[in-house]
């Protein structure tokens, strides 16, 4: 679908309207989508497509994915969660996942930022240095 500059600009305006205190308000997002679908203007699909993209990117920025080779104990999960909230502010969604190929250590991704302290990353860095 071709998204025009105008559609991008309008999607951006709608996205801004959904922000409350710098955080995305889910209710507003829902309302906007419902209203836009109800109006069914010609440009609506492209505006909503770009709006969805902006919401997706925002969600990714507010989501922390913590991967480890073995499941993390509850106390360690709390420590990690607290540390991330301190760094990225409140409203961060944290998900913990198991990924055995990391061998050991942890890999945390928050939006575009990656903190890779896994054994696998260390080995890859060592391999590159040779």
């Amino acid at each position: 679908m071709k998204i025009t500059k105008r559609a991008k600009r309008e999607a951006k305006q709608l996205y801004r309207f959904c922000l409350v205190g710098g955080l995305l308000d889910e209710n507003r997002v829902r309302q906007i989508v419902q209203r836009a679908v109800a109006i069914s203007e010609r440009d609506c699909p492209s505006i909503l497509a770009h709006f969805l993209r902006l919401v997706k990117l925002d969600c990714a920025q507010r989501t922390a994915t913590i991967e480890s080779a073995t499941p993390l104990p509850a106390d360690l999960q709390t420590v990690v969660r607290t540390g991330l909230t301190r760094r990225y502010g409140p409203g961060l969604t944290t998900t913990f996942a198991e990924r055995p190929e990391l061998i050991g250590g942890m890999r945390i991704q928050v939006g575009c930022d990656v903190y890779d302290g896994s054994v696998r990353a260390g080995l890859e860095a060592l391999e590159k240095s040779f």
Partner: protein
Amino acid sequence: MADLLKEIEAQIAGAKTIAAKQNVGVICEIGDGVAKIEGLTDAMLNEMIDLGNGVTGLALSLDETEVGVIILGDYTQVKEGGEARTTGKLLQVPVGKGLLGRVVNMLGEPVDGKGPIKSDKSYPVEKTAPGIIRRRSVSQPVQTGIMPIDAMIPIGRGQRELIIGDRATGKTTICIDTIISQARLNKAAEAAGDTEYRPLYCIYVAIGQKQSTIARVIAVLEETGAMPYTIIVASPASDSASNQYLAPFAGAAMGEWFMDNGMDALIVYDDLSKQAVAYRQVSLLLKRPSGREAFPGDVFYLHSRLLERAARVDEKYGNGSLTAMPIIETQAGDVSAYIPTNVISITDGQIFLETDLFYQGVRPAINVGISVSRVGSAAQLKAMKQVAGQLKGELAQFRELAAFAQFGSDLDAKTQAQIDRGKRIVEIFKQAQYNPIPVEIQVVVIWTVQNGYLDQVPVARVKEFQNKLTEYFTTRKSQLLAKIGREKALSDALKAELKAAADEFKQTWK
């Protein structure tokens, strides 16, 4: 052994693993050497981006939600959905004397099969040009060995002289001749142990040319022994548009190293028309708005920032220089097209080559009337200035009179003499390719023309006369030539010696 184990255990216990922060993105679109990456929020302009599988890219457009990256390696290795990460580094190429005699690609990697490059330094490809304070005016000549250029359109070290003309008019040949001439001068100075002579190293950047053409240039430079003083940066037509767009900048970085280290270098961009086309392709793929002839708005800046890097640096800053010889190919002699006018306005002069002259047998096919060198005369050898000062005017007069004489009207003796002299000057300026003439010989030949020694020689035999004269002076009057080269000016005593020698030759000439 127990101690060793304890020591290792202690070291392991004390070791701290630090997880470095990385900025990543997801490749969401790839096409024709350009990738769009979602994420990479910390990416900088012109930063190298690791695209995985050993392929790197260069961040060229930073949009709100995505980054436009040009892929520098094999773009077939890059997959949609793959992870890309910032490196925090700008694009760099190896520099130094280790590159001399080598053929490299845009990344400075060898493509000549002669093993790895011996270089421990690298320079960023994009670098700000030297400022006003660091610069000084042009004062030393670049002896191209091409008589009409050295006599009438002299080039100085640090100058930017444009070579412009249609296809197959001898643009590359002029540059190759200049490179060969530098190699000969460098070699001669090395052999004579002349420590005062500043060698001029050459960089030839081939952009969008056929591989066979580049191979031919390399073969010529190797045959003439110019390769040890030359670096070739090859970005042939089969290279991606990104590589073709960046190749001149890589060459400029290599040349800048010589300039920054107090040495002189000459860089040939062959040619900037093709680079502009490659840049247009990259820009269109990056969805940048297009302007005149579909070129992006910053195509002038592309060439000006490249050519501004050529400079003569003040003695306080090392006294080095980088001379640029950009080439522009015109279509049907149209110099008023977008890219030619841009580059003409940036450079310090231009040498126009014409198809008509080429097919009339005037080679190099330089149109002296519209070719200029805006700063080079300050660097011209005094001896050459003395003999060639009036030449440009005489040739212009000749062209005007010759056009008038075509009507078949009777001419007075003075006009006829001017036409005859002009014909002889045109003849002596004809020169075979890959055969640069030493400046001392040029001075002698032009002096003989100016002093009427060729007036009685039939036009058809002027070249023969010139060859015999050159042979006579190189074999029997080499000391006189050396004296001209040493003194760099024609004193009265030298003129008298020159006259005696020319008279002696004239007597033997049949």
